[in-house]
């Protein structure tokens, strides 16, 4: 199957840029319900869709899908364009295309959907951080970002937190069938029976050693190292009233 990008390129070749007069003419015909005029205006502006989609394309977003979603923005612009206002079609359409592209990215970039206003604020925060670092050589604090953007420090904090990128342990890498979890070493004792056996043996010996302590010795060690039992459980580990008061104060 030919890629959508290639199909779009073919359409662009066959449809040169329109003049303002042609645009107004086509828009007026669309208003009267001319579907051919609608098709012509759409196809003549595909290069704008490609240009904007390329600008917003990132490695983790499928370009063909982004192109299709951006085209939906173009369709909306064609249907709502009013030539009487006197603007060029591209001036009006680019906002609809950008909106469609950004919405698609927002909805598909992460498994957890973050509201678009939060994404927009996050990109503003990133710009502020970059600018601040370039100017002063240090990273700004949340309060400084909040002052610059006129938001609260709390909002800045949770916006940054909500927009952190996540990766799934089960997601397979594009160039191999391995997922992230396949690359993490199993450090548990169960993956190494010999080590497990040695660990159990050591634990047994240490427990035996602990049982050599008299109750007085064990109690002194516990007091010294702050290993307290439940202060209400006086039957298993009797403590004095003073000790109980001391622990409560701490």
């Amino acid at each position: 199957m030919r890629s959508i990008n290639k199909q779009y390129s073919d359409v662009i070749k066959n449809n040169p840029l329109l003049t303002k007069k042609q645009e107004v003419d086509l828009a007026n015909r669309i208003k009267k319900g001319d579907t051919l005029a609608r098709k012509k205006l759409i196809e003549s502006n595909f290069r704008l869709v490609i240009s904007i989609a390329k600008k917003y394309h990132r490695s983790d977003v499928n370009f063909d899908d982004l192109l299709q979603e951006s085209s939906i923005g173009l369709l909306k612009a064609v249907d709502r364009f009013d030539p009487d206002l006197g603007y060029k079609f591209s001036t009006y359409a680019c906002w609809w295309i950008k909106q469609a592209a950004l919405q698609y990215i927002n909805e598909n970039i992460s498994d957890i959907k973050v509201p678009t206003h939060s994404r927009i604020l996050n990109s503003k925060i990133k710009k502020v951080i970059d600018g601040f670092e370039e100017e002063k050589g240090t990273l700004p604090t949340h309060d400084e970002i909040a002052n610059i953007l006129g938001e609260t420090s709390k909002k800045i904090k949770y916006t940054i937190k909500a927009n952190k990128r996540l990766s799934s342990m089960d997601k397979e890498k594009s160039d191999s069938s391995f997922s992230l979890k396949d690359t993490i070493e199993d450090e548990s004792l169960y993956s190494n029976p010999e080590k497990l056996l040695m660990s159990r043996e050591l634990e047994k010996i240490v427990k035996e050693s602990l049982s050599l302590l008299t109750s007085k010795e064990e109690k002194i060690l516990r007091l010294r190292f702050g290993i307290t039992e439940d202060i209400n459980n006086v039957a298993k580990f009797p403590i004095t009233k003073e000790m109980k008061k001391y622990l409560n104060e701490k």
Partner: protein
Amino acid sequence: MKNKKYVTVNKSGLGLHAIAKIMSEEGIKMNHSTVRNIINRSFVKMASHMSKNYDLNHSDEEIFNIAKSPQFQESIVELLERKKDER
């Protein structure tokens, strides 16, 4: 591994004097030096038992050095914590 000089005691750990006072109140009269000696003796007892079990045949001096090392003491404290949780 970094050689530590002192064993870490958590916030509720008591000083030798405080322990001596508590024990004396409970009827086992002792002063802070006795408390210190009991702590040292306990660790020596455990280190000696472990050395025998592993056939390491450490001398008394070596066992004393192991017993007073912060790494050894910290491990024992951790196990005492676990013993508490297992009850």
